[in-house]
């Protein structure tokens, strides 16, 4: 038996955010200038140039309130950031500008991140957590008109995380709640399709793979659970894997559907095979909780990196399983 390879070291680390890193987003589609956006607890968004590995710009638009989510909008080249000041800022970053064009009030005091869906129908939907802790609001981003409000009937507690995606029948949304259940919503009709009690503890994060109709959710305990949406649009438990230490703050499935990364509260990033949740690697680098992981959307497969942002104020960038 050959000894297993030692786990890789990070390609490089980005220091200088000067605050715990809450959220990450790659933006590599623009040729020649791969960028990484990171949102920090101090309310700043850093824009990192991955070529020279330096922060190009720092965006401050949330009055020092922690930024919990950032996203680029490909169709309009806009940029979104969600802060704990109960606002989502829409930025215009064209040609060196860094101005907030407008902001959307969410009214949410929780930690739930927004979810963006850019459907091909030229209609960009944004799902936001709302004033009621269990409510989800879906609005059209361009016109800022609310589309739906999704409120569960039964007591499922606070909304913890969500992910909106396009299905054949229309936009769907998976939401994780405080009691550990995952609910599948039909956004166009505003009704729940299925509910699955995936965890005994609150659902901390989830991600969904539209190609395989399969999602994964993590909790504050030691299990990761994957589930599928069957032909009747019911959620079904599929697989689960036990972690060594409890708590996962974010899960991210790579676009090619080969691996999934989990940001652990123990400071490790764990990589699993996406098909059967086979444990592949435990990346130890951060000295504190890892808050976020993200995979790059670089057009070249070999350049697709993985970034992890931690409470220890560092962002580590890794190249893992990117050879083939």
């Amino acid at each position: 038996m050959v000894m297993a390879r030692p786990p890789p070291d990070p390609l490089f680390t980005l220091r200088g955010s000067a605050a715990p890193v809450n959220t990450l987003q790659f933006h590599c589609s623009t040729a020649g200038r791969p960028l990484l956006y990171s949102g920090s607890e101090k309310g700043c968004v850093h824009v990192w140039n991955l070529n020279n590995r330096r922060a190009e710009r720092v965006l401050e638009g949330h009055d020092g309130a922690s930024v919990i989510w950032v996203s680029t909008v490909d169709s309009t080249d806009a940029f979104l950031s969600q802060g704990r000041d109960m606002r989502v800022c829409v930025w215009d970053l064209h040609e060196g500008r860094s101005a907030v064009t407008h902001s959307l009030r969410t009214g949410s005091v929780g930690f739930c991140q927004c979810s963006l869906l850019e459907a091909e129908t030229n209609k960009t939907l944004l799902a936001l957590p709302a004033e009621h802790t269990e409510e989800i609001k879906v609005m059209e981003l361009a016109s800022q008109t609310p589309v739906r409000s999704l409120i569960p009937d039964s007591k499922q507690g606070m909304l913890m995380c969500m992910k909106m995606f396009q299905a054949e029948s229309g936009p769907l949304l998976c939401a994780g709640y405080e009691d550990g259940s995952v609910v599948l919503w039909d956004v166009s009709h505003g009704r729940p399709l299925s509910c699955l009690k995936a965890h005994p503890e609150p659902v901390m994060c989830l991600d969904f793979d539209t190609d395989r109709q399969k999602g994964i959710s993590g909790s504050s305990d030691k299990t990761l659970t994957s589930w599928i949406i069957d032909s009747q649009q019911n959620l079904q438990m599929q697989n689960s894997v036990l972690l060594t230490n409890p708590g996962v703050s974010q899960l991210c499935i790579r676009a090619d559907g080969k691996i999934v990364a989990a940001a652990g509260w123990d400071g490790n990033v764990r990589v699993f095979g996406w098909k059967r949740l086979k444990p592949l690697a435990v990346l130890q680098h951060h000295k504190d909780l890892v808050h976020s992981v993200a995979f790059s959307n670089h057009p070249e497969a070999s350049q697709r990196l993985m970034a992890a942002g931690s409470k220890d104020q560092r962002i580590s960038v890794w190249s893992i399983y990117s050879e083939s």
């Binding site: 299990t223 098909k275 059967r276 086979k278």
Partner: protein, 823 residues
């Protein structure tokens, strides 16, 4: 007519006999014998003549024949004729007379061809089924000839001990047919044949008497091994024959009824050992138990309460037999009452061996299980009394097995007696005894008492629900390509993925102490406890500064966070303290042992720590301290005893088989001063100081005998470790004085401790001092030890007492020899 025949036969036989005994002409003798042969079975004489011959002349003829064994004509007879003329007389006459003559001849003839011939005739006598004939002829004599009691008795004795009689004479030359195995098997077959004939005769309306067969059976069983062999053959046949035939049942009951009282017990015992199942016993015995007082005593009392060596199968058979018939059920209730009485008797709990208690418990459970609901209601009061009393006095016992037995039986009884809501239930008991015992008690509810099962069940339950869903994959979603695709990604080394601990272990002794004293953080306390021993041993000087305080904190430490291995960790830390700073720590611990407001557990802990510390001090310092295994050694004697034991045996065996090549070159062990010898007194004497002063919370000589047992044991250990120390003599004296007072303690743990302490004194005290000390009580001590070795209910006590006796004898011998050698 009668007279006439009598005379006629005598006149015909007498001359022939004269010829046989005196003539030298073999032709003449042959002729005479042929005349007499007419009177034998198959001859052509009339029936009355034959009967007269058999009655009056047969034995005489046989005797003459035997006396002619050495005559010329006997030797000149060709084998064929010899067989016909000589052997024929033995095989064709009344078998009882022939048997007697043959056996007499065998025992009185000296070695030679005559003896050989007689033995071979005896063999053909047996193989021709003459014994069966004998039995059958006796059965037919229902009222006929008033047999002389003496003759009957003689025949019985000869028949039942034939193998012994022949073996006495023939020794190793005894043929196989005359050896017990073969003989008694044949005898059993003959008995069965006779019974079969009886059945046939009864069907034909003929009367039969089973008296003789019954007596024979009784006598054979009485004599021991013969009975075993007979019953092995007899019991299964009887069981199967009685199954279908009511007449057989009657015959078999009649047979047993006819067994004389003095032998009936051995017959019954042998039979129930070989009859499988209550119904078989019921068929064979009928209602004998109601008719025969002796049988009743054996079945309802002796087998259940006085003996305990029988297998459980026998218990089942006997109790089932009592339960089977309506008439016998009152006996079952009576049995239950007496078993209850014994089970709940606290004196029995204390003074009978564990095996016997287990046996009685089995009987109780089986018995209760056989009762139906109305009977239980009727006996409810008594059962309840029995349960409460028995369970209570068992829970008080210091032997773990006894406590557990009480709990299991209590639960089983309560299950029968009470409504499901108000049943007695004990939370935790594990161990090997339980499944065995509770298996006698088939339960209709899910069994909490079979520990193995429930443990398994719990572990299944306690798994997180997610894990059990791993296998629940929806079908039709796993294509082949998916199966492969994970495998192309080779996993990295994940060995570094360890459970993360939030707190770091303390690095300084004082930090550790602080955390143990005042921290509310479970993780910190746990880490401190885990590192305490290592820290203390590393930082000896700091440890000395805080040793007593640290000991105090550890002694009062409670397992608030159910730390894994809490007791072991705490104990090893306390031992480390006692070793590092012996005098103050030991002084502190020994004072605390007798002070107010400690729990039994804490006092036991103190004793264990003292014992372990003394042990460590007495061992030479080795560079690599052996893996701290001694923790288990003194902790729980009764639990670890067995494990330790086999381990030692294996160790020894390995040692003896291992050839050590480097042995010759190895350096001799370095001499080092014994660290324990100078401080032994600090350990020992304070513990003896206050034992007789009862306090509010602690009464050593009263109810707290658990601690007393442990205390005596610890003192014994301290004594043993002090071997060769100058103070050993004083310690031995004090210890002997102490244990002398409690040597008849009711609790076996205490007695065990006392004997252990005595052993330790005998081992460690210098011989001359020992005898000087014992001189007055020497005789009494020996008598006491001998008495314990013989009659203590506890097996450990007995073996310890034997050991002490051996040690004492050895001491005495060396002491008595050495002066004589000097002079």
């Amino acid at each position: 007519m009668e007279l006439h025949t009598d005379l006629e036969v005598r006149q015909a036989v007498a001359p022939c006999l004269r010829i046989v005994s005196s003539s030298r002409d073999s032709a003449e003798v042959t002729e005479a014998l042929r005349t007499i042969i007419h009177y034998l079975e198959g001859g052509n004489a009339s029936a009355s003549e034959k009967a007269e011959f058999n009655r009056a002349n047969y034995t005489r003829v046989l005797q003459v024949l035997v006396s002619s064994l050495s005559s010329d004509w006997f030797h000149s007879l060709p084998a064929q004729e010899r067989r016909e003329l000589w052997d024929g007389f033995f095989l064709r006459g009344p078998p009882d007379q022939a048997l007697l003559v043959l056996l007499d001849t065998i025992s009185s003839t000296s070695d030679g061809s005559g003896l050989d011939w007689t033995v071979s005739v005896l063999e053909s006598f047996l193989s021709a089924g003459r014994v069966g004939m004998l039995l059958w002829s006796r059965c037919l004599e229902t009222n006929g000839r008033p047999d002389s009691v003496q003759l009957r008795e003689t025949i019985l004795t000869r028949l039942s001990s034939l193998p012994d009689l022949t073996a006495n004479r023939l020794r190793t030359n005894t043929p196989a047919r005359l050896l017990p195995q073969q003989y008694y098997t044949d005898l059993a077959r003959d008995v069965l044949n006779t019974l079969e004939n009886t059945c046939r005769a009864l069907r034909a309306g003929q009367d039969c008497s089973l008296g003789f067969v019954a007596q024979l059976l009784g006598k054979v069983c009485m004599q021991g091994h013969g009975g075993e062999i007979t019953c092995v053959t007899l019991a299964p046949r009887l069981s199967s024959l009685t199954r279908s035939d009511a007449l057989w049942r009657r015959v078999s009951c009649k047979l047993l009824e006819n067994v004389p009282d003095r032998w009936v017990e051995s017959v019954i015992t042998a039979l129930i050992h070989h009859l499988h199942g209550a119904s078989a016993l019921s068929r064979v015995m009928g209602n004998l138990v109601l008719k025969n007082k002796k049988v009743q005593f054996v079945l309802t009392h002796k087998v259940l309460l006085l003996q305990y060596q029988h297998p459980t199968q026998l218990l089942r058979t006997v109790l089932g037999y009592l339960a089977l018939d309506h008439d016998r059920r009152p006996l079952l209730k009576q049995v239950l009452r007496s078993v209850c009485q014994v089970w709940s008797n606290s004196s029995a709990v204390r003074h009978t061996s564990l095996d016997q208690q287990l046996y009685v418990s089995k009987a109780l459970l089986l018995c209760v299980n056989l009762l139906n609901q109305t009977e239980i209601q009727e006996l409810r009061e008594e059962l309840l009394q029995c349960m409460l009393g028995g369970v209570q006095c068992r829970l008080d016992s210091s032997t773990e097995h006894v406590r557990r037995m009480g709990m299991v039986v209590g639960e089983c009884l309560s299950q029968k007696l009470d409504t499901p809501t108000s049943q007695l239930q004990f939370q935790n008991y594990g161990g090997c005894l339980l499944p065995v015992l509770s298996s006698y008690f088939p339960s209709d509810r899910p069994q909490p008492e079979s520990s193995g099962q429930s443990a398994e069940g719990q572990s299944m339950m306690s798994q997180p629900p997610a894990a059990s869903q791993t296998s629940a994959k929806p079908a039709g979603h796993s294509s082949d390509s998916e199966l492969d695709s994970d495998d192309e990604l080779t996993p990295y080394d994940m060995s570094a993925d360890q459970v993360k601990q939030k707190a770091t272990p303390p690095r300084y002794v004082r930090d550790c102490l602080e955390a143990l004293m005042s921290s509310d953080d479970p993780e910190r306390v746990e880490l401190s406890l885990q590192t305490a021993e290592e820290l203390l041993r590393k930082n000896v000087s700091t440890a000395r500064e805080v040793s007593v305080q640290f000991s105090k904190v550890l002694l009062h430490l409670e397992d608030r966070y159910s730390t894994a291995g809490f007791h072991t960790l705490r104990q090893s830390a306390m031992v480390a303290l006692a070793v590092i700073h012996t005098q103050p720590v030991v002084e502190y611990l020994t004072t605390e042992f007798y002070s107010l407001n400690y729990s039994l557990r804490q006092r036991l802990d103190i004793l264990e720590v003292l014992a372990l510390a003394a042990q460590e001090l007495s061992e030479p310092i080795t560079e690599k301290k052996a893996v701290s295994q001694p923790v288990a050694r003194a902790v729980t004697l009764e639990q670890c005893g067995e494990v330790e034991h086999w381990r030692q045996v294996v160790e020894k065996r390995i040692q003896s088989k291992t050839r050590r090549i480097s042995k010759g070159a190895s350096q001799p062990p370095k001499a080092a001063p014994n660290r324990y010898a100078p401080v032994a007194a600090y350990f020992f004497f304070p513990l003896l100081r206050n034992y007789d002063r009862p306090q509010v919370t602690f009464d050593l000589l009263g109810s707290d005998h658990l601690v007393l047992g442990q205390l005596v044991h610890t003192l014994g250990l301290l004594m043993h470790l002090a071997v060769n120390a100058p103070v050993a003599t004083q310690m031995g004296k004090a210890l002997l004085d102490f244990v002398w007072a409690i040597r008849f303690h009711a609790d076996q743990m205490v007695r065990r401790g006392v004997l252990f302490a005595v052993c330790a004194v005998f081992l460690s005290m210098p011989g001359e001092n020992l005898l000087l000390e014992l001189s007055d009580d020497l005789v009494e001590t020996r008598a006491w030890l001998a008495d314990v070795a013989e009659s203590d209910p506890d097996a450990d006590c007995r073996s310890l007492a034997v050991q002490s006796l051996v040690l004492l004898e050895k001491n005495l011998k060396t002491h008595l020899q050495s002066p004589s050698m000097e002079t």
